[in-house]
């Protein structure tokens, strides 16, 4: 039964496939469809493989065999049979005096007097200056598991005095220890504290400004040219590369506002801070960076507050600000906070602007305020990654695990917040 058999008003001969041809044609189209479906699926799988490879690579670098050689074995450092770990401060200092030259002792004393150093700090010095563990070689996790015998034989042959041991580069000491130029003793304590300082101040500055701008744009701004320019401008700022913010921070906060950011006008006169390359400069730079993000998220949250809520408040004679403060903000807050957390995760992972603003390459002392020199976790990862030695790659891997854990906890927080919020809304309705 086909169209052209009938006497009809169709002048064009039917040249569409019919009957068997039609079925063959459709079958062919389905074959093409299946090939492309497979390609689309494959692309999605490639994305998953990339994520897997990334995580595998990091874990692979963060654990594995190492060949360690100590200059002085810790077993020989016992005093009256008491092992090194249990010695008192004074005993540790005496060990230092015994092994370290007078000149070095004087230098250490002038940096921070021994009397003011904690036991942990002196213990760290004993490890660095006396035991001086040196990691001669390190292997990745997969090699360590599958080629253990070959590696062991290699060590016996080439480094008879070294010990082969399995090392988790990510370990409690790694979190506790400050940075060190000896890979075996290096840790991320200073970097974590630096990140926390920088982020805290970033939030303190960016949150009120971001929320304020969002309230202004959503509640106060009339639809005129100026406000439209502000809105467009915020959207465009969100797309400016982060390194540009770094350059801005370098010129404005580090250089032009140096008296402020170095703390000189507050009477802080820390000799270690030679210029404006401080926690404060970094925080202000990051604050500008996340501000557009924060504003856009907060605007969305405020926009989602139903009109009826506002009208109900006005009907009771409330002023504009009372309405916003007592009704709009409380219902918008969960959304605002979720957006803030996302902005913070962005800021925690930022590296480039901080390098430009002048994160220090080596900070072994804890940052203790907004005017300290600083390094942060991602900057530390960057610096370790750019070193050629394998051991620093292992350290970077372990530091990445710490960073990812931090980000994961933050995002889990955001998800929890979102869920709780949506439950509460359901509870209302």
């Amino acid at each position: 039964m086909s169209v052209s058999e009938r006497p009809s008003a169709l002048p064009v001969a039917c040249t569409l496939p019919k009957d068997h041809l039609l079925k063959r044609h459709i079958a062919m189209r389905h074959r093409v469809g299946r090939i492309w479906y497979f390609l689309f699926l494959l692309s999605t799988i490639v994305g998953i493989i990339a994520l897997t490879a990334l995580l595998y690579n990091i874990v692979n670098q963060s654990f594995g065999l190492v060949a360690v050689q100590n200059t002085v074995e810790p077993e020989t450092l016992t005093i009256n049979g008491v092992p090194l770990e249990e010695l008192t401060r004074e005993q540790l200092v005496s060990i230092l005096e015994q092994y370290v030259s007078k000149g070095v002792m004087r230098r250490l004393e002038s940096e921070i007097p021994f009397a003011m150093r904690s036991r942990d700090n002196i213990y760290q010095l004993v490890q660095e200056r006396v035991i001086r563990p040196e990691i001669l070689m390190s292997w990745q996790l997969v090699d360590s598991v599958f080629h253990r015998e070959e590696i062991a034989a290699f060590i016996v042959e080439n480094y008879p005095s070294a010990r082969l041991q399995f090392r988790a580069w990510l370990n409690p000491d790694f979190i506790r220890r400050p940075q060190s130029s000896v890979p075996a003793l290096a840790g991320v304590r200073t970097a974590i504290l630096g990140s926390l300082w920088v982020i805290s101040i970033t939030i303190l500055v960016a949150f009120p400004l971001g929320l304020g701008a969002a309230i202004y744009l959503e509640e106060y701004a009339s639809d005129n040219v100026v406000n439209r320019i502000i809105q467009t401008n915020i959207n465009n700022l969100a797309g400016v590369p982060s390194i540009i913010y770094g350059i801005l921070g370098l010129a404005v906060f580090v250089r032009a506002l140096e008296p402020l950011t170095s703390g000189v006008i507050f009477g802080v006169n820390d000799p270690t801070t030679a210029n404006g390359r401080t926690v404060l400069s970094a925080s202000l730079t990051l604050a500008l960076l996340v501000l557009p993000l924060l504003i856009i998220n907060a605007q969305e949250a405020i926009r989602a507050v139903p009109r009826s809520l506002r009208e109900g408040s006005y009907a009771l004679g409330a002023t504009k600000w009372e309405t916003i403060w007592h009704h709009v903000l409380p219902s918008a807050m969960p959304g605002v906070l979720t957006g803030t957390i996302l902005a913070i995760s962005r800021a925690i992972g930022e590296t480039a602007p901080l390098v430009v603003v002048g994160a220090s390459t080596f900070v072994s002392l804890d940052p203790n305020g907004p005017f300290s020199k600083f390094t942060t976790l991602p900057v530390q990862i960057y610096q370790w990654t750019s070193r050629p030695q394998d051991q620093f790659r292992n350290l970077a891997g372990a530091a990445i695990l710490v960073l990812l854990f931090l980000l994961l906890s933050l995002n889990a927080g955001a998800v929890l917040l979102r869920n709780r919020y949506s439950r509460r809304i359901q509870g209302i309705s």
């Binding site: 994520l51 990334l54 465009n236 590369p241 010129a251 600000w321 960057y382 990654t385």
Partner: protein, 291 residues
């Protein structure tokens, strides 16, 4: 009285963004002015010559621009086909269950800091490329490795923006297509994708802008040292990589080096700003058709 103080603060908050933009333009413009006014370099030389060696007063930005172009091109060669395919799969093929499983994975990929991607490029992608193409062919630092990993970084951005655009295409168009006897592929590729084209174009442009401004991956994996080369397996420093390397060291203010990063920054700012404005224009157009 109290309310006007509060309103003042709110207005100030809104104005901060304008100040930021003005700050960027002023700072970049002023230092660039000093750079070009120093007498050691003129604009024509800056934009057209191929040697960047501040030590001997040669400031041709082309090697840096070229390296940026190389990494961006490679990144987009990876991210555009993969990102669009993922978007089509998620929006047209995947079941609700598969979608709810895959989208968080892509979000995780998008949330990983770029320094981690840089690490991934240097410690995974580069060794992989070297084992495939040979250690003599592929240098330790190369634009291919940085570009490919950058593509993976940008993939979620493109796929999620494109998927938003595809999902916004009304169901009635898909039904019209199926009612004409179209297969799923024909509907997806010949009806839905063209209907979402301006949204997808916006995604591509944002992706390109992101790739041009991306810093840490290239700073770690692409190489430290300007080189004018089209070989993706050779080291070459991008604009962003150069800024990071120069400012990462101890930089003395008012040196020509210091000023040069502002000139590079200015160029970078204008390129990305232009791309973002174009992208927003496309999004606007897409919205006008369907909302």
């Amino acid at each position: 009285m109290g309310e006007s103080v509060i309103q003042g603060f709110l207005l100030f908050s809104g104005a901060i963004s304008i100040l930021t933009t003005l700050g960027i333009v002023f700072v970049l413009g002023r230092e660039s002015w000093l750079f070009f006014g120093s007498g050691q370099v003129d604009l024509r030389e800056f934009l057209t010559t191929t040697v960047w060696q501040p030590a001997i007063d040669r400031f041709g930005i082309l090697p840096l621009v070229n390296a940026t172009f190389m990494t961006t091109t490679i990144a987009m060669l990876v991210a555009i086909p993969l990102g669009l395919s993922v978007a089509i799969y998620l929006s047209e093929y995947a079941s609700a269950r598969a979608r709810s499983l895959l989208k968080p994975i892509l979000e995780v990929l998008a949330g990983i800091p770029t320094v981690v991607y840089g690490y991934f490029a240097l410690t995974f992608m580069t060794p992989l490329l070297r084992s495939i193409f040979g250690r003599d062919v592929v240098q330790i630092y190369n634009t291919a490795s940085a570009g490919i990993v950058m593509g993976i970084l940008i993939l979620p951005l493109i796929s999620s923006m494109s998927e938003d655009a595809l999902s916004a295409v009304p169901r009635s168009l898909r039904e019209a297509s199926y009612a004409l006897g179209a297969t799923k592929l024909e509907t997806a590729v010949q009806v839905v994708v063209p209907a979402a084209l301006s949204g997808i174009t916006a995604a591509f442009i944002v992706g390109i802008s992101r790739a041009i401004g991306e810093t840490m991956i290239v700073a770690i994996a692409a190489g430290a040292g300007p080189a004018f080369t089209f070989n993706p397996f050779k080291a070459a420093e991008t604009m962003t990589g150069h800024i990071v390397r120069i400012s990462g060291g101890d930089l003395s203010y008012d040196s020509i080096d210091y000023n040069s990063i502002f000139a590079i920054g200015l160029l970078l700012f204008f390129i990305t700003l232009t791309l973002n404005v174009i992208s927003r224009w496309f999004v606007q157009r897409f919205r006008e058709v369907y909302e």
